[in-house]
């Protein structure tokens, strides 16, 4: 440390002692984040549950190789049994198989929509945050405009208008999948853009960025290598919540008959048919509904856990 040792006012015989400060524990950031995540018990349980769901959805067909469209009129509207652990629907199709398939669709939609929203949001937010003045103002005006749009009506409108063309072009599943993912993602990027921009604005002024700039880093490099890694925490949390949102939105659309058609068994479209048989075969509606609830709940808790882990502003 710079600075002179003070000349002693009182002469001292014993030589001055050098005392070492207690060494600080160096724990990696990732380990710290994981430790904080672990503290959130519900998040941990949810991680496990979600893992089970994802595992079931991916490897399900291997473990339960029943077709989703085997019609069997002798076994319609049956409750859970050994032959059909989740029961059957009004065409005798096995619900467990359909739920496994539906899980794939729902989760895929969730992740894809999150990717679209995330990609758009991060891009707009980063550009807005790094640039300033007119570019920033213009992008923010656009963001605010999109935020003021009535989402569900617009969602329905877009699907109404574009559904047939896309279905003709890319087939039943593909067409609807693309439409839903683009439309959901395209209407949910705004909160992420705002978040990323806020992060960039605050990090831009921090010392380590100044240092990098002084060393001659280009703006792009600054953005990608220095700011983005630090900004990513809250963005990950928001993106996680987006997956949950997208899953709910897709199932809502399919439930209304405006998403995947009933022969493509997403969890929402299963419910579309099931609601008419609510009194006679409630299991048909309860299983997919509960599956959606459990998946979304787990994702939300995990998001909360991630928030604790990556953005520790708690005081206790």
């Amino acid at each position: 440390m710079p600075g002179s040792i003070p000349a002693s006012l009182i002469a001292d015989e014993a030589p001055p002692l050098r005392v070492e400060p207690v060494a600080e524990q160096r724990v990696s950031l990732r380990r710290q984040a994981w430790r904080r995540f672990r503290r959130h018990r519900l998040a941990l349980i949810s991680l496990f549950i979600l893992g089970l769901i994802v595992f079931g959805v991916i490897f399900g067909p291997l473990l339960w190789p029943v077709s989703i469209s085997d019609i069997d009129f002798t076994a319609i509207l049956q409750g859970p049994s050994w032959a059909h652990p989740f029961g059957t629907d009004d065409l005798g199709q096995d619900l467990l198989a359909r739920m496994i398939y539906g899980g794939r669709i729902s989760i895929a939609v969730g992740i894809a929509a999150m990717a679209v929203a995330g990609g758009l949001g991060v891009m707009v937010g980063a550009i807005s945050g790094m640039a300033s003045g007119r570019v920033d103002a213009a992008l923010m005006w656009l963001t605010d405009l999109f935020l003021a749009l009535p989402q569900v009506p617009l969602l329905l409108l877009l699907i109404f208008l574009f559904r047939d063309t896309l279905r003709a072009a890319l087939g039943e599943e593909g067409g609807i999948f693309l439409l839903i993912v683009v439309v959901i993602g395209g209407l949910r990027w705004m909160p992420l853009a705002r978040l990323v921009r806020a992060q960039f604005l605050s990090l831009r002024e921090k010392e380590f960025v100044e240092a990098a700039r002084a060393l001659g880093a280009s703006r792009f490099r600054l953005m990608v290598k220095h700011i983005l890694p630090n900004a990513i925490g809250p963005v990950i949390v928001a993106a996680t919540i987006e997956v949950a949102n997208a899953i709910i939105t897709e199932s809502t659309l399919s439930f209304l008959g405006l998403g995947f058609p009933p022969d493509v068994p997403s969890w929402g479209s299963i419910l579309y048919d099931a609601q008419q048989y609510l009194d006679t075969a409630p299991h048909w509606a309860l299983f997919p509904g509960f599956a959606i609830f459990l998946t979304v709940l787990s994702i939300n808790f995990i998001g909360d856990g991630l928030r604790d882990a990556l953005d520790p502003r708690r005081v206790i």
Binding site: L42, L149, V152, L258
Partner: protein
């Protein structure tokens, strides 16, 4: 709050309105199947109306003029003719609007009545048992899709227990107290579904807002005055914590509209939301277009109201 501020804020709605309507118009104009053309060529539309529509939408003019004609028409309630119902779209919509607003309003009030006390209590006792339970219940609340909750409630209360009707009727034949009671019975489930979903999200926002405010210096100043913890909470913490929540309720409204659409559909409430769904399913373009526009206007109006309310509650804003 100065008159200048109100005026300024009102002026700001104009670009929003223009922007949003431009987006809606662009979507309609670029969509396959020529929705605008359909307005004229659909066989259900009487010829007199076709001629009038052609004039008011200016369909023979260049694009930007068409857009302005369209906007003008929309703002005047000139919404065309419904293909399926064979009446003016405006009549149809204004018939349905009151029910939607009443259900929405009741649900919002329920949400606020539940969320504010719970959120404040949770925020002032963070990490306590109450807080943890409230938090978990809130998570469960907004992870449950409204259609699922609606279906479960119908299953339990209408089908199994037969306590509540699940079909909503605006044409009740009884009057007086019986009419009021019937209305209440049939509104309980939809309002609960919508209200609790919104309330669950609100609880977390209120709690977060309270936690933010509790840390602030002026709360310590208030405590140091020795006025009693209760006054500190009500006069200082809650009063300030609720300000951002007001904006939030307004900003969340587009989402709540979405939830209301689903609720109306499940409980067969004859509101604007169920009209939107049925017109989509029956390809009734003018109705779809008009409802989307009405929703957009509602959102702008509510945002305006929220901004004014915010400025009234927070004296710092109006002076900027």
């Amino acid at each position: 709050m100065s008159r200048a501020y109100i005026l300024r804020r009102l002026m700001m709605t104009i670009p929003s309105l223009l922007g949003i309507s431009a987006i809606i118009y662009a979507i309609l104009a670029l969509a396959p199947g020529d929705p605008f053309g359909q307005l004229l060529t659909n066989p259900n539309v009487p010829p007199a109306v076709v001629a009038q529509l052609r004039k008011s939408f200016g369909l023979d003019d260049p694009v930007w003029l068409r857009y302005l004609h369209w906007l003008f028409a929309m703002l005047h309630g000139n919404w065309g003719f419904s293909f399926s119902s064979r009446i003016n779209v405006s009549t149809l919509i204004f018939e349905r609007l009151p029910v939607s607003l009443v259900i929405l309003g009741a649900a919002e009030i329920l949400a606020i009545l539940v969320a504010v006390p719970v959120g404040v209590l949770a925020g002032t006792r963070p990490y306590s048992l109450f807080d943890k339970i409230a938090n978990t219940l809130a998570f469960i609340g907004f992870s449950l899709p409204t259609f699922f909750t609606g279906l479960v409630l119908i299953l339990v209360f209408s089908i199994r227990l037969r306590w509540l009707p699940f079909v909503f009727r605006t044409d009740l034949s009884v009057t007086g107290i019986a009419w009021l009671w019937q209305n209440i019975l049939q509104s309980v489930m939809p309002v609960t579904v919508l209200g609790l979903f919104q309330g669950a999200a609100l609880v977390r926002y209120v709690r977060a807002s309270v936690l933010d405010v509790v840390k602030l210096d002026y709360v310590t100043t208030a405590r140091s005055k020795g006025i009693g913890e209760r006054k500190v909470i009500t006069r200082h913490i809650v009063r300030n914590a609720l300000i951002p929540v007001v904006t939030l309720v307004a900003v969340q409204l587009p989402v709540v509209f979405g939830g209301a659409i689903i609720t109306e559909q499940i409980f067969r409430i004859p509101g604007m939301g169920s009209l939107l769904i049925s017109s989509i399913l029956s390809d009734d373009t003018p109705v779809v277009m008009a409802i989307t526009f009405v929703y957009a206007v509602l959102v702008i109006l509510f945002n305006l109201f929220a901004d004014l309310l915010y400025a009234w509650l927070d004296p710092r804003i109006a002076y900027r």
